[in-house]
Symmetry: C2
Subunit: 336 residues, 2 copies
DNA sequence: CTGTTAGCGCGTTCAC
DNA sequence: GTGAACGCGCTAACAG
């Protein structure tokens, strides 16, 4: 384990000069630079990052908070974020809060202990006032999240638009009894989607009916359950808006299993544009979210905030969202 | 940003005593301990981790190498590994090699620069002799991987058994022309599965036919392609073993789209037991891998190696694998 | 252009 | 039981 001192000795120079070479400082003669590089190679020297961090007060590490990774939406977010980080020379520490405020709070200490230069929250489990004090220790950037109270940058998708275009699509197909089926995360992703959903209904002069609303659907199993709950209603819905492709897939799968035809008897629209939407029979209409763009932007903003050290200001970056029409909402039986 | 010095001053004690309290050292009187804790709380003091790392020569961070996260198998691995790490007080840095030897090599410097205490490889892109020199800087543990040359711990699943039981199941269903369809990763996960596949065939006195082998199938799209390739053969296979549920789903989806019935005209078995296997119609028979157990064990072994500093020895931990029979291999038309 | 020197914040002998 | 002092490896003044 060689140190900068060893390199200096071998090259017959001082530590300073070696340090200058490492950090591409100007004012080092070409000969000495060669000497240093030679010595470094010979020793297989690499600077110790703890020492560097201690000295420079930065770690080049960013923490990314997600509720869990297995959820395909977050998988994609983590994947994109890691690539963006690598591109900028940062490492990513993954923190799964598992929807637990305690775990979230605990991971927040990474900022306090200076193990990371900043925290990107792709999930918020605590009240903002609980999180805010951590701003004393470094920047926090919200990604796919938003909080009225939080005066920090927020990179997000236009969820209201997502709810709107998906619902409008169903309305255009002639549906009038449309169910709303969403995972009721504490986040306002869900509430924004509902705003869009309601807006579309309003435009068509349709009243939002609470009995058509299911706000506890996260998994495909939930989808199956909701399907049965819906069909038991008097005047059951003819279409359903869902907050995730998994839920949509669960509904479609259960519907078909029970002999219903999709979309003829029940149209279904998902959310996320996951691989599964193209594998199901019928394929599933869904809402595509530019996760990669969002991740890149969030990381870019974070890096800028780390550099400038001015991060206590609300800045909102919003990306548009897009409907992808497939078979689960448009009958193609005739075409076949 | 308060330091240990500040705490000491406020408590009217020396840095040493504060340090002792932090590290639960004995020989600190109860009164002083109270004093220190009081002062720490008052200042909101938290030890600086860079300084600690520099001093103690450890970071409590482990790097996990995966080719990419979006692949559900690796999502699950990362998820489980992160939880196991959190449990043991470690952080996890995610490194996506994206199947690139250069990227892998680059990430390996995390070990050299002492940014991490150890590296868990859930994917190997370089020859072992390229990676081996890094052992001078810390432990490397293989997870879901194996290398003949590597004298390091290896935590894996019995892939040969996986190939065997899946194939045997197809044979028991009466199939005799069975295709082999697998992603030809550089890893020997694939080759072990093939060994099991061949062994099962052998037991039934059936010869392995190269024309039934497709070794370039990774995605559902590949599955669709392979389906057509298979069906164009003279005497096409009546069953297919695949190396991933995505590929299996692609095959099933395409088969049904083309009017084939599964499993009557083509039986399909997947690998990984992903969510999709229960959502497809028909549901997909697959091989369950105890990823969580493997991840926990790998992390446990890593922590032990970090502690003991003796890690240049081959140790193999192997977990059994299990077949889950669903509709894509067993006709239930009669039952319906 | 180059070297000397002083910490960054912490843990740990070694004396008392 | 407690404190003074050293050094982990590095960077950044400050001199020269």
């Amino acid at each position: 384990m060689s140190t900068i001192e060893d390199v200096a000795k071998l090259a017959g120079l001082s530590r300073t000069t070696v340090s200058r070479v490492i950090n591409n400082h100007p004012y080092v003669s070409e000969d000495k630079r060669k000497l240093v590089i030679e010595a470094m190679n010979q020793l297989g020297y690499v600077p110790n990052s703890s020492a560097r961090s201690l000295r420079s007060q930065k770690t080049d590490v960013i923490a990314l908070f997600v509720p869990r990774i297995m959820n395909p939406f977050f998988s994609q977010l983590v994947e994109s974020m890691e690539m963006a980080a690598a591109e900028k020379g940062y490492q990513l520490i993954i923190c799964q809060t598992r929807y637990s405020p305690e775990k979230e709070l605990n991971y927040m200490n990474l900022l306090k202990t200076k193990q990371v230069d900043g925290v990107i929250l792709a999930s918020i489990q605590n009240e903002w006032k609980v999180l805010e004090p951590f701003l004393d220790y470094g920047p926090i950037v919200l990604c796919n999240e938003f909080d009225e109270q939080a005066n920090v940058p927020s990179v997000m998708l236009d969820q209201a638009q997502g709810g709107y275009i998906a619902t409008k699509h169903l309305l255009e197909q002639g549906h009038r009894r449309i169910a709303y089926c969403q995972g009721g995360t504490r986040s306002n992703v869900a509430s924004h989607r509902e705003i869009g959903f309601r807006r579309a209904l309003l435009e068509y002069g349709i009243e939002f009916e609470e009995r058509y609303a299911f706000r506890d659907a996260f998994s495909s199993e939930d989808g199956r359950r909701v399907f049965h709950q819906m069909m038991k209603l008097s005047a059951p819905p003819t279409a359903v808006f869902t907050g995730s492709d998994e839920v949509a897939a669960g509904i479609v799968s259960e519907a078909i299993k029970c002999g219903y035809s999709v979309p003829e008897q029940l149209a279904v629209v998902g959310f996320d544009n996951q691989a599964i939407t193209e594998l199901m029979e019928p394929t599933i209409t869904t809402v595509h979210q530019p996760v990669e763009k969002m991740a890149h932007k969030a990381l870019e903003v974070m890096v800028e905030k780390i550099r400038s050290r001015k991060y206590r200001r609300r800045e909102v970056y919003e990306f548009p969202i897009e409907l992808i029409v497939r078979e689960s909402t448009v009958s193609n039986r005739l075409a076949k």
